[in-house]
């Protein structure tokens, strides 16, 4: 579903961000991307939703290959994946429901379908009662739920989350994480970059640890190797 093959990413000013990164994520997986700041987690996420393209190597996302990809193909790819950020990226001058509806309007979903869909999404993230509120009237956790509802609007096969709990307190973090688990249980893959090691330790999800632009630990690889080590 998602495959990185010997991916290098260099920026003109800051130099190498990724150094020969290879891994694959299957359908419906939940993967944590961990590692210190500047390790390359965000670069990996940006390469997945093709906000950036590799300097060398290839990224495949659900049949779309990074090499020679056209802008239109990137737009079409993004209609099949969802992205959430630490800073929510909501439109402050629009209500919660308008924020979610926006994602559907820009891909020309008919207006009569949007209303029902938005209401189902807000129910799914537990915000049905806040549909007419503005983002500034909500807590951080609630705002992130709105962002998640928006990311789910086009029924993505994967949800890419860049530090989604980075601005939240413990309680809100647990709530958002549980929501992501529920979404994953419904069959949507989740790739979540995080600093929160507690969250990682408490779950049994796959962990990809990134350091200095390289994958230094992959719990899936470890599991595969375990039978060889234990006699």
């Amino acid at each position: 579903m998602i495959r990185f093959a010997n991916v290098y990413k260099e920026y003109p000013r800051t130099g190498a961000a990724l150094n020969d990164v290879s891994f694959a994520v299957g359908k419906g997986e939940f993967v944590f991307l961990t590692g210190p700041s500047g390790a390359g987690k965000s670069s990996i996420l940006k390469l997945i939703y093709m906000d950036e393209l590799p300097t060398r190597g290839d990224v495949w996302v659900s049949g779309t290959r990074s090499r020679g990809v056209k802008r239109r193909e990137i737009s079409m790819l993004r209609r099949r994946l969802g992205v959430v950020f630490q800073d929510f990226r909501l439109l402050e001058d629009r209500t919660v429901e308008a924020n979610v509806a926006f994602a559907l309007e820009v891909i020309d979903v008919p207006p009569d379908k949007i209303r029902g869909k938005v209401s189902r999404l807000l129910t799914q993230v537990g915000l049905a009662s806040k549909a007419t509120n503005y983002p500034r009237e909500l807590s951080g956790g609630e705002q992130q739920r709105v962002a998640i509802a928006r990311a789910l609007a086009n029924d993505p096969f994967v949800l890419v989350a860049d530090e989604p709990t980075g601005n939240l307190d413990d309680r809100a973090t647990r709530g958002v994480f549980q929501l992501l688990r529920d979404i994953n249980a419904g069959g949507t893959a989740v790739i979540m970059a995080t600093h929160n090691l507690d969250l990682v330790k408490r779950s049994d999800c796959r962990v990809l640890e990134i350091n200095r632009g390289q994958v230094v630990f992959d719990s899936a690889e470890e599991k595969r190797r375990m039978p060889e080590i234990t006699p």
Binding site: Y49, D51, R71, R72, S75, M76, L77, R78, R79, R80, V83, R89, L91, F102, A103, E105, V106, I107, D108, P111, R150, A153, N154
Partner: protein, 283 residues
């Protein structure tokens, strides 16, 4: 399309000063063009009136024989440019002079004015070159003493009209270029003001064409508004001129619509020139 229209409105609301600036520049560029067009238009209708009165008058010598005159009238009547040839006897000439120039009626005496052939030209054959060529041909008859026509001032009017048209086009184009530059500069600010929406649109899979659409609609509306404002300004100018100087004619519906179309083209071109580049800068 509904979303594009709404985003356009949001654009206007967020940056009213920028919108006003764009509309005003379009309006002034078209106003400059409009003023010269108005001059050209009025000169044209003045010329048409003058032209319809253009006559070639060939004065005859006293002892011209009636047969020769009748013969000449027949020949002149066959020229393709000629609509009508009329013989004016000295008595008729006197009568006409007395009617047209009332204050001098006592000055004119019988035999004072010569007989003449008055030649009227067809529509579309009254330009200076044709008038002159017909006059030359009339002059060749031996019994034609002298030929008179308003050649010089017809030619002058034509020149003024051409100069006014050319000046209008050159100034209008120069202003239109300035308007396009200013609009494309304001697009940069408009894109920045909507950077958040644009980046979210991108994230959820909006195509570049979709993202550009509200800006183009905005350019179109600004252009139409600028065109309308220019028409209003030109109308005021034409009223003022009519009231204090000389009666003027205003654009008809077709020309006014062309003015609006011109505005719309400036608005859309101005937006299209830079919106693609600016939108790509937003990640």
């Amino acid at each position: 399309m509904r979303l594009a229209a709404r985003e356009t409105l949001i654009g206007f609301r967020r940056a009213p000063m920028l919108s006003a600036l764009s509309i005003t520049t379009i309006a002034f560029s078209l106003f400059a063009f409009g003023l010269f067009s108005l001059v050209a238009l009025n000169l044209r209708s003045a010329l048409q009136q003058v032209e319809s009165r253009v006559e070639i008058r060939g004065f005859l010598i006293e002892d011209a024989s009636p047969e020769a005159i009748a013969n000449a009238m027949e020949i002149i009547g066959t020229y393709p440019e000629v609509a009508r040839v009329e013989y004016v006897s000295p008595e008729q000439a006197l009568e006409r002079a007395r009617t047209e120039l009332q204050e001098f009626r006592d000055v004119f005496e019988a035999g004072f004015l010569p007989a003449s052939l008055d030649i009227r030209l067809r529509d579309g054959h009254r330009d200076p070159a044709t008038v002159e060529s017909v006059a030359e041909k009339v002059k060749e008859f031996d019994f034609v003493n002298d030929v008179r026509f308003g050649a010089e001032w017809v030619a002058k009017l034509y020149t003024i009209r051409n100069v006014a048209t050319a000046a209008g086009i050159i100034l209008g184009l120069a202003f239109a270029a300035v308007a396009v530059i200013i609009i494309s500069a304001t697009i940069r600010m408009a894109v920045m003001a909507r950077a958040r929406e644009i980046s979210i649109m991108r994230l959820v899979g909006a195509t570049d064409a979709f993202i550009r659409r509200p800006f183009l609609i905005e350019g179109f509306i600004k252009g139409i508004a600028g065109g309308a404002l220019a028409l209003l300004l030109t109308w005021v100018a034409s009223r003022v001129i009519s009231q204090y100087f000389i009666q003027t004619e205003y654009f008809d519906l077709r020309l006014a619509s062309l003015g609006l179309l011109g505005g719309a083209i400036i608005g859309v071109v101005g937006s299209a020139v830079s919106v693609g580049r600016q939108v790509r800068k937003v990640s």
